[in-house]
């Protein structure tokens, strides 16, 4: 691969001498010798295993829970239910003032998705915990469930999450995140063509090779050491502190070594209940997802629906873009209100369009709660935007790459959210892509620059 140092040479202070030079990864020697310590590569004497009793229903009221047989099962040391959790209702992003608290550590009175944690069983062996979990009796009254965002937003739809009271997240801007720039309706009126298309995606599971989990060891000084593969150490520390009503100085988190995460390990799910198990038994506790739990229980990338309406001129200029985005949070917020908000900021894509209207909704359904995954909030949107760009180019009979040059944002352009563009390099990237893919464009586009207007 060739490194072109000529681009933006006058804007740089260094000579990029580190770029393109191989440097050994500091963690590789541990990986190739098998010495890297993942959280599960620890074994403590007397360690208990935690298994969850999970909801078999998508939406149900819990009439009663009977743990008596499970408690009598050989090897069982402790059975935990909602009443044992000091602060059972939480939400991860409360730390950055994104509330309300809307999710239970252990279900209390209701389950809102199939697989939701109801009862935690701690036993001497994994097998005993599994067997005892199967002996917990939960009496459910099944409720109507909603799995589709359009259905969830209809009047009279079953309310998924009473902490919200409605099937969408209420932003300070109202029922959705909004971006308003120019006059989008006037833009459509003056356009040569208008194209409206709908794009949809399904949830995507990260499927890391190492499943989510942690091991908690009670220390002699009253503290708890939590060995975890979380990707979010401080979110986890702070939320565990809130859920357990325990000062942060009682909690020592050890991590940073993650056997694949891709965003799937940023929720705070296994640590608080494992710490509670260690606290109530005085013994080390291991809580690690089975492969089935990793695939079915851990939060996926959200399903999304994106409706894009564009007004385009025959000369290639996009003059108006209206985007309505829907993010399926599943039953609980986790990171999805933030993901939907990111989408609002990200549209209309890396293009300068004079008239823009964006609405992005975070919608609740009785599906597995979704959360972070590589560029969540923008990745599905980019797929939709770029497919739309190809369709627009075809509509006006223009080369799709040249069409993008015409609309590419450049330094100084005001984006729809009113931040000026800085450090754009889209044009230069497309020039290189044109060469690399042997997809020639007109010379005037190869002469364009992200920061010199004039073409």
């Amino acid at each position: 691969m060739e490194l072109r140092k000529s681009y933006f040479a006058d804007q740089r202070k260094d000579d990029l001498h580190e770029i393109g030079q191989p440097r050994p990864r500091s963690d590789s020697p541990g990986h190739v010798t098998g010495k890297t310590a993942y959280f599960a590569d620890r074994n403590f004497p007397g360690m208990l295993h935690l298994k969850m009793v999970r909801s078999p229903h998508h939406h149900a009221r819990i009439r009663s829970i009977d743990t008596s047989e499970a408690e009598k099962h050989p090897g069982v040391v402790k059975v935990l239910t909602a009443k044992d959790v000091p602060h059972n209702v939480y939400t991860i992003l409360i730390l950055i003032q994104i509330g309300p608290e809307d999710e239970t550590v252990l279900a209390d009175g209701k389950v809102r998705w199939k697989g939701e944690a109801v009862v935690a069983v701690l036993a001497e062996t994994e097998r005993a915990a599994q067997e005892a979990a199967a002996r917990v009796k939960v009496d459910y009254e099944v409720l109507p469930a909603v799995f589709d965002m359009d259905e969830a937003l209809k009047p009279g739809a079953p309310i998924v999450n009473e902490y919200h009271g409605r099937n969408y997240y209420l932003y300070d801007s109202g029922e959705c995140r909004k971006v308003r720039f120019g006059d989008v309706e006037a833009g459509f009126t003056g356009a040569d063509h208008v194209l409206e298309q709908t794009y949809q995606s399904s949830p995507i599971e990260h499927a890391p090779t190492e499943t989510t989990g942690c091991i908690v060891a009670p220390e002699g000084n009253g503290r708890f050491t939590c060995y975890t593969n979380t990707q979010a150490m401080f979110f986890t520390l702070d939320n565990a502190s809130i859920i357990l009503q325990m000062p942060g100085n009682k909690l020592h988190f050890v991590g940073g070594t993650v056997g694949g995460g891709f965003g799937g390990k940023v929720d705070v799910i296994v640590e608080p209940i494992a710490i509670l198990g260690a606290k109530t038994t005085g013994r080390p506790v291991c809580f690690i997802y089975s492969r089935e739990e990793e695939m079915q229980i851990s939060s996926p990338r959200a399903a999304e629906k994106v409706v894009i309406k564009d007004g385009v001129m025959n000369d290639g200029r996009i003059v108006a873009r209206k985007v309505t985005g829907y993010t399926d949070a599943g039953a609980y917020s986790r990171h999805s209100p933030y993901g939907a908000q990111k989408g609002a900021g990200h549209y209309p894509g890396p293009y300068t369009i004079p008239n823009v209207w964006i609405d992005t909704y975070c919608v609740y359904t009785n599906r597995t709660p979704s959360s972070a995954m590589r560029g969540f909030g923008v990745t599905i949107g980019d797929f939709a935007l770029e497919v739309q760009m190809d369709k627009l180019a075809r509509l006006i009979g223009m080369d799709p790459l040249e069409f993008r040059f015409i609309n590419a944002y450049r330094d100084g352009d005001i984006k729809a959210h009113r931040q000026p563009t800085e450090g754009a390099a889209l044009i230069e990237c497309m020039q290189e892509a044109s060469r690399a893919a042997n997809w020639p464009v007109a010379e005037k586009f190869m002469a364009m620059s992200s920061y010199a207007k004039g073409v």
């Binding site: 990864r25 963690d27 098998g34 010495k35 599960a40 492969r291």
Partner: protein, 160 residues
């Protein structure tokens, strides 16, 4: 529960343990003996992270009962470096940037070792086939394939 004695050679050392009948080799190695280089990614024989070498053959330790390994000779990635000197495969994985999160790496190296032991000059297709039972969810397959091919080249140069 009645315990069962097992005895085998692990990376050149004699090991003897009493285990519960039905214990997998993966559990015995990790929890009893303390060799945590084989990883448990699926416990159902699909990810390859637990791969070890038993009597020269590549095996999934999560699907192998420890009690069937009596008298066997077992090798794991832990025993690959000799006297602190890395095995050519380990060097090749380092040089080719063939690790990302590292969780699949010990299993990948075991699979690659069996290939090179049996086929010293493998084709690219041979390497792909040999690694086909090992999942890398960081999707770093290309550098891994290159590392194995590079290790094979350095082996044959040393032999020449």
């Amino acid at each position: 529960m009645a315990k069962v004695p097992v005895q085998f050679t692990l990376n050149g050392a004699e090991k003897a343990e009493f285990i519960d009948s039905g214990t997998t080799l993966l559990h015995a190695l990790r929890d009893k003996i303390g060799d945590t280089s084989p990883k448990g990614g699926c416990h159902q024989g699909t990810c390859g992270a637990c791969s070890v070498i038993i009597d020269g053959e590549l095996r999934l330790s999560c699907l192998t009962l420890a009690e069937t390994c009596n008298g066997a000779t077992i090798a794991t990635t832990t025993g690959l470096a000799e006297g602190g000197v890395l095995h050519p495969l380990q060097c090749a994985f380092l040089d080719a940037f063939a690790t990302q999160c590292g969780f699949c790496t010990p299993g990948m190296i075991m699979a690659a070792k069996v290939l090179l032991d049996q086929t010293p000059n493998p084709s690219r297709e041979d390497v792909v086939e040999a690694l086909s039972g090992n999942i890398c969810r960081c999707t770093g397959y290309e550098p891994i394939i290159q590392a194995v091919l590079s290790a094979a080249r350095s082996n044959s140069q040393n032999a020449a």
